[in-house]
Symmetry: C2
Subunit: 141 residues, 2 copies
């Protein structure tokens, strides 16, 4: 898998409000997956969770995550990002979840009384795939 | 997470050609995710890979997988399935990949000269989620 930074076309893809699934590690090492909102910013990914979500415990214990981002309208295009949660902080004023909610739905987050947490994931490796071949296409040498 | 079997409404959801992301474990324990076709059958999941795919090696080494299935038209509805690959066999006559391709695209698989492998995952646990709450809704007690 190539190391980051990602090519511009991949960065542009990642800025859209795409469906995504994040994998974390349970204490027994079993992978755990869940759909998630994310925001891509300067080679990092912001995710945000209710305080009761299992993946919050998982990332506190073992920061390694993998995120597969699907295209909004053609899910055979996918970009997978692998890296580590480098910051896990309370989202006390709901600033981050509002940012994510506005990105995906155009509206601030509806749950104003939840305890939310934000994690920033530093992305170290990535790959892209589109209907049976690497994406973006590798340049001929 | 509840143990299988899944409720009928979840089973019905899983029979559709939904987008899905599968997590496997790298030899170093890092989670690895990728979009995948799947077919749900009697509490098991069929997936199929080109012989060169990393997740094939991963499942041979450690059978634990997690699969998050998104709704085709509303990806906030999700079902996650956790279990173990109990069978990994060559798909010599492309029967399985044709089954998957037909399920998703209505056509047999286009790559007639690939070496493909099938894995059946026995699903042990599951959870469903829809826009901020468990799905299907838990019955009041």
């Amino acid at each position: 898998m190539p190391r980051t930074p990602v090519p511009d076309v991949v960065g542009e893809f990642l800025t859209r409000p795409n469906p995504a699934v994040i994998a974390t590690l349970r204490p027994d090492g079993f992978p755990h997956t869940a759909a998630t909102w994310y925001v891509w910013e300067d080679g990092r990914v912001l995710v945000n969770m209710d305080a009761t979500r299992r993946r919050l415990e998982h990332m506190r214990r073992d920061p390694r995550v993998s995120l597969t981002v699907l295209s909004e309208d053609e899910w055979y295009r996918q970009v997978t990002l692998m890296g580590e949660a480098v910051s896990i902080e309370p989202d006390s004023d709901l600033h981050d979840i509002d940012r994510l909610s506005t990105h995906y739905s155009g509206q601030p987050f509806s749950g104003r009384h939840q305890e939310r947490w934000s994690a920033w994931v530093r992305v170290d490796r990535w790959f892209g795939w589109d209907g049976g071949a690497s994406w973006p296409p590798r340049k001929a040498t």
